[in-house]
Symmetry: C2
Subunit: 275 residues, 2 copies
Amino acid sequence: MTRSMLRVAEAVAGDPAGCAARTVTGLAELTGTSEATVVRTARLLGYPGYRDLRLALAGLAAQQQSGRAPSVTADIAVDDPLADVVAKLAYDEQQTLADTAAGLDTIQLGAAVTALAGARRTDIYGVGASGLVAQDLAQKLLRIGLVAHAHSDPHLAVTNAVQLRSGDVAIAITHSGSTGDVIEPLRVAFDHGATTVAITGRPDGPVSQYADHILTTSTARESELRPAAMSSRTSQLLVVDCLFTGVTQRTYETAAPALAASYEALAHRHAPRTR
Amino acid sequence: MTRSMLRVAEAVAGDPAGCAARTVTGLAELTGTSEATVVRTARLLGYPGYRDLRLALAGLAAQQQSGRAPSVTADIAVDDPLADVVAKLAYDEQQTLADTAAGLDTIQLGAAVTALAGARRTDIYGVGASGLVAQDLAQKLLRIGLVAHAHSDPHLAVTNAVQLRSGDVAIAITHSGSTGDVIEPLRVAFDHGATTVAITGRPDGPVSQYADHILTTSTARESELRPAAMSSRTSQLLVVDCLFTGVTQRTYETAAPALAASYEALAHRHAPRTR
DNA sequence: GTCACATCTGAAACCTATTTTCAGCCCCTG
DNA sequence: CAGGGGCTGAAAATAGGTTTCAGATGTGAC
């Protein structure tokens, strides 16, 4: 690529939307080159001519636009109208999901799924907001016929952890990676030979010392009106769903009938619809 | 809009991407009209000419493209590799969030927020997966200094509901809208004069009879490996977050110090980081 | 039924934007 | 520093978009 073509390419890369709004002549003037050079650059970039590059550019610009819906990325303010709050929260959680999915190590996930699928029993530790995630995972695993317990009480968690042995699984869920109340039972489980998994936003935190497999959740920015607990919960739940779905796939023969049975059992607890 | 212009407009609406790839003459031929008509249609649609319409069309096409990432929309199969499972689950939950945000009635939400902000006490009912969402909301409200309790035990829920009176708030969370165990306490609360809120995926279900305000969650498609509980939970949690954030805004004077205090109180429960 | 009017429509002229050509220039090499 | 290869932009050529205008079509009144 030559010097003047580089100038054009830079302009295009730097401001796709702006370039899409210009004609060949306009872009030539902007970059201080000629129409011919602009066309040549377009060819080099893999388009039949400038016209097509421009169309592609317009598409790119539109995508970027939609990516950052106006002001949605901004922090939530105390005086935001409710409609904005809804939009911003939804956008933020979507972002958290995307980050988590992108950052999740499928090797570690696969190892955790394998351990869970073959476990005699599974203990899950989590306190506070993470305690609810732990319960969610336990509920799901129970539904597919596994033996799983969520512990929010650190004392009971430890007393149960000593019962674990090789082949069992212990899962600690902590956003900070340094919640003593869940690290302690995980350590005990680890020492007793159980396979240990940590779901944490800080893979470099103390919890990882005792974790055979580490599943990383995203640590999105937080603020006063957007507590870390909110996005970490979203992130943790996605990991939990992935674990659950993975285990269901792995143990499909037994999981499918178990799921059907639990669905069946709940059916009569729903009152008939009014309309 | 005249007949031949309508033909052009339909072609554009029906296949934006295809039209973006055509020239005026091409589109005129495709629609069996003339260049002049195509240009006139473009003007009518609010563009200075066909050139600009075409650029806009290219943008639109690109957005649609990105919207449906290849195969991610497909159902999760038993033999999907884990990486696909992660992508599909994340995509699906993102979709659920978007749907929920789009379908949430901010008027109803505002009314619920107002009721919560001024409530003497708040009871929240939910069983099963929704029980965890109820607890999540209760945890959040407690953090900003409100009096909130989540009830998963239907008997205790009812016995507590009779204590409610005008100015108090009762919230029922049920995806199906017909879970007797949460409808009953909501009915009792309703009869005792409390302000009642339903968070449900079936606003036409029985639960709505006793709800002053109805917040609708999205009812995304489900399948064997993608239980309804998964997306309904995501949807419910977004609503909960919106409620929480709304109440925090509304009671900022008292909520902010309360949040800070609860953050402070937890700080010493985290062990020092290893690295 | 038919005439007058308004409106729509497309062929062709016109103009703008893009592409191609080509001569000059720069820079590298021997 | 002379020769040559490749880069560059002015200008011609062309493709694509826009405007004009005359004919077609439909509509309502008489």
